[in-house]
């Protein structure tokens, strides 16, 4: 965790060593937060479209397994596998929305959708377990398992890659949803779908493309998750709950807030892992999120009106 340059710089005294460790960790927390934000991206969009996709985490795990198959059978590098995984998951997303979820969303049955997506998640999870067993798998590659040393900062390469992917994806999607005609149409549908129809928006089409965008973000996240960590069929729940925390913390209804919410969650996870030990990381993370949200129920980043 502490590289030599850090120790050399800290040779002046114990106190400054602690500060350097803390600074290093905070920086890591920020980058790791990008990974959490990326995990929350699609879910935040689902919230904006007016429903909760409980199969959110499982879609990512499915993507990771798809990439694993491509790697172990055809030897395709996980990063290159994105070219195949992303379109495949997007097509699954389109189909799911068109033939299943739209029937409920267009009738305003948002609660039913939660239960249905939960079932879909269960199906994915159990199917993966039947095919691949409950063992852990990974997409880690030797060339990626490195750490970068910049001055006294010491950062795993995967942290940086995940953060950059998150930053780019969030920027592009934020631009799309706020600055383009199509993006604004997406946001109009859940606010008043009849009024949106009056201006030429077709809600059924908006939902299908919306799910396509969510599936895209989940496929990208899933593969990156597999590259950075190990995963099993049951990993989906982690990547549903942490993102929910990020979305709540930032405040519903905006990608920008979700991105920052993810950064905060990442920071809490890394720092509580350091101070309380890895076994308390998740408990502390959820507890701190809960306490923060108690003080600002609408989300930390929402301006009170």
């Amino acid at each position: 965790m502490i590289n030599s340059s850090l120790i050399r710089l800290a040779a002046v005294g114990e106190l400054s060593l602690n500060w350097l460790i803390l600074f290093n960790l905070s920086f890591r927390g920020l980058l790791f937060g990008g990974f959490i934000s990326l995990a929350a991206c699609g879910l935040s969009l689902a919230f904006q479209l007016g429903f909760i996709n409980a199969a959110h985490g499982d879609m990512a795990v499915l993507s990771a397994y798809l990439s694993w198959v491509l790697l172990s059978i055809f030897g395709i590098d996980p990063f290159i596998s994105l070219i195949i995984v992303v379109p495949s998951i997007v097509i699954i997303g389109f189909a799911l929305q068109k033939f299943l979820l739209n029937r409920f969303l267009l009738r305003g049955l948002m609660d039913t959708v939660i239960i249905i997506t939960f079932s879909i998640g269960m199906v994915i999870q159990n199917m993966l377990q039947l095919i691949f067993s409950a063992d852990f798998k990974t997409l880690m590659q030797p060339y990626i398992m490195q750490a970068l040393s910049i001055g006294f900062l010491n950062i795993p390469l995967t942290y940086l890659i995940n953060f950059v992917f998150a930053l780019v994806l969030f920027t592009v999607l934020h631009f799309f949803f706020t600055k383009t005609f199509a993006g604004r149409a997406f946001r109009a549908v859940p606010q008043d779908s009849e009024a949106a129809m009056m201006f030429g928006v077709k809600p059924e089409v908006a939902y299908i493309y919306g799910m396509g965008i969510m599936a895209m973000t989940q496929a990208i996240f899933g593969v990156l998750m597999g590259i950075s960590y190990v995963f099993a069929p049951s990993s989906g729940s982690t990547y549903l709950l942490l993102p929910l925390g990020a979305i709540m913390l930032g405040g519903l209804g905006s990608l920008k807030r979700t991105f920052i919410g993810g950064l905060i969650i990442g920071e809490i996870l890394i720092l509580s892992g350091y101070f309380f030990g890895a076994q308390y990381q998740y408990i502390m993370c959820h507890l701190i999120t809960l306490i923060l949200i108690l003080f600002k129920p609408e989300g930390l980043l929402v301006k009170r009106t």
């Binding site: 706020t178 149409a185 109009a188 129809m197 201006f199 209804g253």
Partner: protein, 237 residues
């Protein structure tokens, strides 16, 4: 431009409109008048395809539209200022306006120019450009709803009770604006109103609808003199 023939509309078993016929010619300002519950909003919903009629036909620019889905109808050039305004509360004033231009390619490419025109018509909207729609006052919301409809560069503008919930002084301003749009911008308008006297003062022609049936129609000036209108809607004379 708009021709409605023998329209019958029901909600399930309950019939709301009976043989309603109405015509709006190019450049006209037509008022559809009637008390609460007469079927005015049902009529608008049928015209823009949110309700499918049981029988009868609706022609717009010579094409039958009564069985088309709403987005396809509005794409042809009908814009609506719906009852209750129906703005997008979590979007800014500017974003609400731009949604109006989503409807057609032409409206999108001209969105910038149209936006400036709308801001000239309602300078207040320019001031509140970046505010969320839900934070606007009633009058401002009505301006925004009209602005949003204008952004779609409509051939026919339907206003459903634009004076509802406005302060009396604002009602006059609103009606003057509507008149200005009709005369200055040569916009064809169907105005749906409870406020009979005010609406007839700016309209070319009018229809009165009661219990789902057209009970009176004619030139607005003539209708203002009509005994029936005076008695039923203006508290005698």
């Amino acid at each position: 431009m708009l021709e409605v023939n023998q329209l019958n509309v029901s909600y399930g078993e309950l019939q709301v409109l009976f043989d309603v016929s109405l015509m709006v010619k190019k450049g006209e300002l037509v008022a559809l008048l009637g008390p609460n519950g007469a079927g005015k909003t049902t009529f608008t919903k049928a015209v823009i395809g949110l309700l499918k009629p049981k029988s009868g036909s609706i022609f717009f620019l010579g094409k039958r539209i009564e069985n088309l889905p709403t987005p396809d109808i509005t794409k042809m050039g009908i814009a609506i200022v719906p009852e209750g305004r129906r703005l997008f509360p979590l979007m800014t004033v500017k974003e609400n306006l731009l949604i109006g231009a989503y409807v057609s390619k032409e409206a999108r490419t001209k969105a910038k120019d149209t936006l400036n025109k709308v801001y000239t018509l309602f300078p207040r909207l320019k001031e509140r450009e970046n505010q969320l729609a839900k934070t606007l006052s009633g009058g401002e919301q009505q301006m925004l709803a009209i602005g949003r409809a204008l952004m779609s560069l409509p051939k026919l503008l339907i206003l459903d009770e634009p004076s509802l919930g406005l302060a009396p002084s604002l009602v006059l301003t609103m009606l003057n604006t509507i008149k200005k749009l009709n005369e200055g911008e040569k916009l064809t308008i169907l105005l749906i109103e409870q406020n009979v006297r005010a609406a007839l003062q700016i309209a070319d022609r009018g229809y009165v609808i009661e219990n789902g049936r057209v009970v009176l129609e004619g030139e607005a000036k003539e209708m203002l003199k009509e005994e029936y209108i005076k008695k039923a809607y203006m508290g005698g004379d």
